[in-house]
Symmetry: C2
Subunit: 324 residues, 2 copies
DNA sequence: CCTTGTCGTGCAAACGTTTGCATGCGAGAG
DNA sequence: CTCTCGCATGCAAACGTTTGCACGACAAGG
């Protein structure tokens, strides 16, 4: 099945040293162009393809990075996977994806499993403690996404500005009873959004109503919609779009109309246009986020790499059909 | 950053040969239990962790498999990723994920990139030609998902039975004008579903109406909903749930009610419960599919491995709120 | 007591690269 | 014409494992 041809076979074929063949692939500038050509031709002829592992063994670079995330099925992550992969490609890196199923133990376990076969780790929305994350980051290049741990490189996708903007819009259009339905408890994003709603609303002299969809999935949100309704909220900010979607379904089931009876503002803009009416949300630049993460990872563990990089990207408010 | 400790350091520490340490990790049965313990302790003390690449170099197994798919963002795939990973874990394998963005050239390119660093490839919903897939399968262990190429191991997730069942249900409840809205042209699933609708309906003496949502995404489906409506269909089968969802939105926008004015039956059951009303669909056992794929991959390229394995799993009909 | 077998361990040769150093060659400077 | 220098390439030593083979010790069988 697998044909195995090595660098020395190529070398023999055209009467050069193995090292020459190696250089033709890794540093062609050092060779006479004509030699490079001969090597390439011979390689193609016998179907030679460099052995990654032999190379990794000596150079220490495995040509792969790991992307660890809590739940592939959450619509926030697939785009992240795609963009991370695209970015990694530019550096000749392949990406391992690890789904932790929102389980802390499992997360740690996957990280340890992956650790020896990657050049670096991108850990998104980690549920691990700061201390543990620090330790991990000490062992190999690591960048966190949506987790703010001092001393470890991180990219944060912030929604503060856009959220405040959205809040102001709601207040301007006459809302005074505004609720926030939070997501996963240990999530940085949730803390950030929660805090933002709280401070913004207090500054406006309003009292926020807080609820929580424990795991942040559709079913949880559906369930919590009753409470929101009972509290008499006329507008609700959802932790993310799937929570927003769940809430909308709940409201509709109870005969509430969106946006006439209650306004809904989502977050992340992952499925906005597929709801009815189209969900107002906060759109994120995941492509930039992923690209930054990979770039930082690339430079981490290099001479003169700052260990405390912190990139913060702002989302932007997109008003659609669920707000007025 | 990266601490490097090797097998010989461990060996030295307790005065044994490197080979003994190696065996303690790979084949503990060959050693005195006490020796194994001593090795493990010493390894833990100095934080030794086996070097994957050195191991791969000599054994030829990289400890990784590749999962190639057209679009991570399509809700069909994330569960597949998760289950594939779960299954791979049992064999101590990590999984590379490659998103081809539905691009044939890119697909081939990713496969070639991944090929040298994996023990095998799972290619889902490939857009490549049979011939090319054959060639790929010749070079390394490969299993196809939802692609039926003779001579290369494959697992097919069939919906024929469930679809026929659904069709009969529609006819029994009085529908005579039934449409099928297809998805990506080169897709095996689409061909299979298209064929099933055609033959089943013809057997029942009805003439099917065929439409197509080119890329199979929400926007395409939304667009095609008008045509379906114009054709006077009273029931529509969608290639998958996202197409179904798009159609529903289209219908609603034009004032049609589901299911009163038109019935909708989806496929894949990826987002059934999050639509309104909840989408009737055909549920798939992705967990089994993924597990089979990994298992087949594992046994492929082994002595006595049949090259022509073909697993077919049947989906099951789930009637919810979009049919009557 | 010698043979034979088993068990636990050591030795050393791979695996396919990369890379620092050495070498030979021709060209330009003196 | 000799010296020096740079360029293109060869040589060989790593990188960290795994694994076939050999070896010694010890037990059991004759």
């Amino acid at each position: 099945m697998k044909s195995k041809s090595t660098i020395v076979q190529v070398a023999k074929r055209i009467g050069v040293a193995p090292s020459t063949v190696s250089r033709a692939f890794t540093d062609p500038g050092k060779l006479k162009p004509e030699t490079v050509q001969r090597v390439m031709d011979a390689a193609a002829e016998i179907g030679y393809v460099p052995n990654h592992h032999a190379r990794a063994l000596i150079t220490g670079r495995s040509g792969a990075i790991g992307l660890v995330l809590p739940d592939v099925a959450n619509p926030f992550f697939p785009p992240l996977i795609r963009y991370a992969q695209l970015a990694a490609e530019d550096y000749g890196l392949a990406v391992f994806v690890a789904d932790t199923a929102e389980d802390t133990k499992r997360e740690l376990q996957m990280i340890e499993r992956l650790s020896p076969q990657v050049e670096g780790l991108i850990i998104a929305s980690s549920r691990l403690s700061d201390r543990v994350l620090q330790t991990i980051a000490d062992r190999q290049p690591t960048v966190l996404i949506n987790r703010d741990v001092a001393g470890v490189p991180r990219v944060l996708i912030s929604t503060s500005k856009a959220l405040a903007e959205g809040l102001h819009h709601l207040v301007e259009t006459g809302h005074t009873r505004i609720a926030y339905v939070g997501g996963p408890a240990r999530s940085w994003s949730d803390a950030q959004r929660h805090g933002c709603v709280q401070s913004t609303l207090e500054n406006l002299g309003l009292e926020p109503y807080f609820f929580q969809a424990k795991s942040g999935n559709y079913a949880d949100a559906l369930e919590v919609s009753g409470e929101v309704e009972a509290a008499g909220a006329t507008a609700v900010i959802a932790f993310d779009d799937v929570v927003a979607h769940g809430l909308m379904s709940g409201f509709r089931a109870h005969g509430l109309r969106v946006p006439e009876d209650i306004n809904v503002l989502g977050c992340d803009d992952t499925l906005a246009i597929t709801t009815h009416p189209p969900l107002s949300s906060i759109s994120l630049d995941l492509a930039s986020a992923a690209r930054s993460a990979v770039t930082i990872l690339r430079s981490a563990g290099r001479p003169g790499a700052s260990t405390d990089q912190r990139f913060e990207l702002e989302g932007s408010l997109v008003l659609r059909g669920t707000t007025n």
